[in-house]
Symmetry: C2
Subunit: 403 residues, 2 copies
């Protein structure tokens, strides 16, 4: 279903370094990342929709407004979300940005911040500001691997995706990294995603396409249905590929959007594959829907159902739960027209049981990837959603994390 292995070519002008500031409650190792673009980069960002927003989210929003969506650096940390930390939390975030700006000789508002970790625990700026000069000295293109590890929390592995395309005869590189093992673990498994490209692109255009890229990737996954206070996506484009600037509808613009979307989607799928306690990736394809919005709502409802996710964990071809979750999506659905396929096997025909070899299908469902396909016969639209199975390990991780 999803296997890509790109050779990573780091976009020109981006440099990375990571170090250990001792912020983690559990475990040790690097927990701070410093990312620099040699040239000022156009930025587009997506932030959590949670009304409880962490200090780095609020400060980054302010910086983007002030800088008119230009940035040259990101300071990111794991171990402490710097959320529900009040005025002092905002102060901490501001000090981290100021220190980075001072080191790089740029305005503070060109520094973006992201944090993930425990909520409600005061964070000392010093632990990070004292690290930054050391990281500054170690910045290099190959440092991306170290940063992709430093931002992890309950993740079991780093998540990277890359693409290289040609625009107006110039090679353009895209590199993405992210962390997250629940889309929605507000204490810990915040989703952070950074996508870097050396493409030359109009800032306004970049901001226009980013929500759509998010809709087709990070907004199409779920591990447990919560939304973190710290969720952040940054897309940075520094123009060093020297392609003819992309600014609106054109074949080249489409090519760039496509490549950014593929990188974002690969990162998103890597998040659910590494979902807390997950053993399986579940791809939900809703087809022949009346509209894409309806297809998405049904795919999301199936992908968010604890009962569907536990059935997949148990390799149980329990299509009744899938049909029921589809019926709960809040959109029109005619069960008598609906077919469901599990890993290519028709299990539900027109809303009722189909004949299938149950033990053979169970064996298939024991694999690492399960595809649920549901045909609505209501139109021609479709949508895909990704989630993971729900296992006892998810409970173990979350019943004991903080304390």
């Amino acid at each position: 279903m999803h296997k890509r292995n790109n050779k990573i070519e780091v976009p020109r002008g981006f440099m990375f370094a990571a170090g250990a500031a001792g912020l983690r409650t559990h475990g040790e190792g690097p927990d701070v990342g410093f990312i620099r673009s040699e040239a000022p980069a156009k930025v587009a960002a997506l932030f959590t929709s949670n009304l409880v927003k962490a200090a780095p989210v609020m400060l980054s929003q302010e910086h983007l407004r002030k800088s008119k969506y230009i940035a040259q650096a990101i300071v990111v940390n794991a171990g402490n979300a710097n959320c529900a930390t009040g005025e002092q939390g905002m102060q901490t975030a501001a000090e981290c940005a100021s220190k980075a700006a001072e080191l790089l000789g740029i305005p503070a508002e060109q520094v973006l911040l992201a944090s993930t970790g425990v909520i409600g625990v005061p964070m000392q700026a010093q632990s990070i500001t004292t690290m930054l000069p050391k990281l500054m000295a170690r910045l290099k293109p190959g440092g991306y691997a170290a940063v992709s590890k430093a931002i992890l929390t309950t993740d079991t592995r780093p998540k990277l995706a890359a693409a290289t395309i040609s625009l107006s005869g110039r090679q353009v590189r895209i590199l993405g990294m992210c962390k997250g093992a629940g889309m929605i673990n507000p204490c810990l498994a915040t989703m952070l995603a950074f996508i870097f490209t050396d493409a030359a692109v109009d800032g306004q255009f970049l901001r226009e396409i980013t929500p759509r890229i998010g809709d087709l990737s990070f907004n199409r996954i779920s591990v447990d249905g919560d939304t973190s206070t710290n969720d952040t996506v940054f897309v940075m484009a520094n123009g060093l590929a020297a392609n003819k600037p992309i600014s609106g509808k054109s074949a080249e613009a489409e090519k760039l959007v496509q490549a950014l979307t593929e990188v974002a989607r690969e990162l998103a799928i890597k998040i659910v594959m590494d979902g807390e306690g997950a053993r399986k990736l579940i791809e939900i394809r809703v087809e022949k829907a009346a509209s894409e919005a309806e297809a998405s709502a049904i795919a999301r409802s199936i992908g968010s159902s604890a009962l569907v996710k536990t059935a997949v964990a148990g390799a149980d071809p329990n299509w009744g739960r899938i049909l029921s979750a589809a019926g709960n999506a809040g959109v029109e659905l005619r069960p008598e027209l609906t077919d469901i396929y599990l890993d290519g096997v028709l299990v539900c025909r027109k809303g009722g049981a189909a004949e299938f070899n149950e033990s053979a299908l169970q064996r298939k469902l024991r694999g690492r990837e399960v595809v649920i396909r549901i045909l609505l016969r209501a139109g021609t639209a479709q949508s895909t959603f990704w989630t993971c199975d729900l296992t006892e390990e998810y409970i173990r991780i979350n019943a004991s994390y903080r304390t």
Copy 2:
């Protein structure tokens, strides 16, 4: 938090019998219930909002329309939900109703149906229709206990609640029973609730008050966030208490509504206390909200959060997850004004960490009942919601049920 033990007085004219029709895939024992009211009863009903509706739901809806909301019997079964069973499923439901009507000498549309169990498995009418004459011969007031057991699925215990009030000098009795161990297990843990009273009450009035009673009880609980295809609440009032009929706003009407609501709420709380894998009841009280709707939305968001529920399972005073879930409710929330109490201990003051004795609170949180109280300082409205903790046992039950 919630301990009532009512002596049960069966409302006059209601009789019950249960028997084993062999419908259960797992286990044995009674799985069919037959309930009769000697006098025609006014009925109000609530049904699942799922667009995939089981045959007994669709047939009961049709019968209520035809009978103008009068019924004299309920035929209920566990083991097979008779859902996603197409035309044959409707035929089965109709045959069961016809047989019961024939035995009782009443019109078929005065028989209501409810089923719970596996979805998508054809159900033979015969298994039930052959049972009905035997059950008919055994109908008696004291049979309610047997029926309350026959309707169970993953439930670990029967759920009953009762009240006796006085209206216009007459003793009026209310008896409720329900099943459900997930509000939302579409294959199995359908919620069914039947409330019987011998009160004389205007049918129109009964139908007006029932949605509100449901809102304050069954709609205030969640085990896992799904909604079954078979969820059904029937409220039957046969008038045999011979009180002055209740028909509109009055102190007596208020008294009846209050008693019905308390019975419904007690049943609802018993459902979450017996939630699949649950070890704890969680009561979520949202106070000082701008409106009841906003308070309810926030209470529901907290009560539906897998992360809050796993934290309670682990006795972890993880208020950050509670604040984050509140921020996700889709309604206005000002974290800087928000306080959170866990079992009476202030853990979050104005959106930030409060000082508290963590190990002492952890000991408290190991109890069977946990109260989460959240003060918004946005107004004077409030709402309460009940849920259970989310444990590894929930996964074990649901990853292996059907096969």
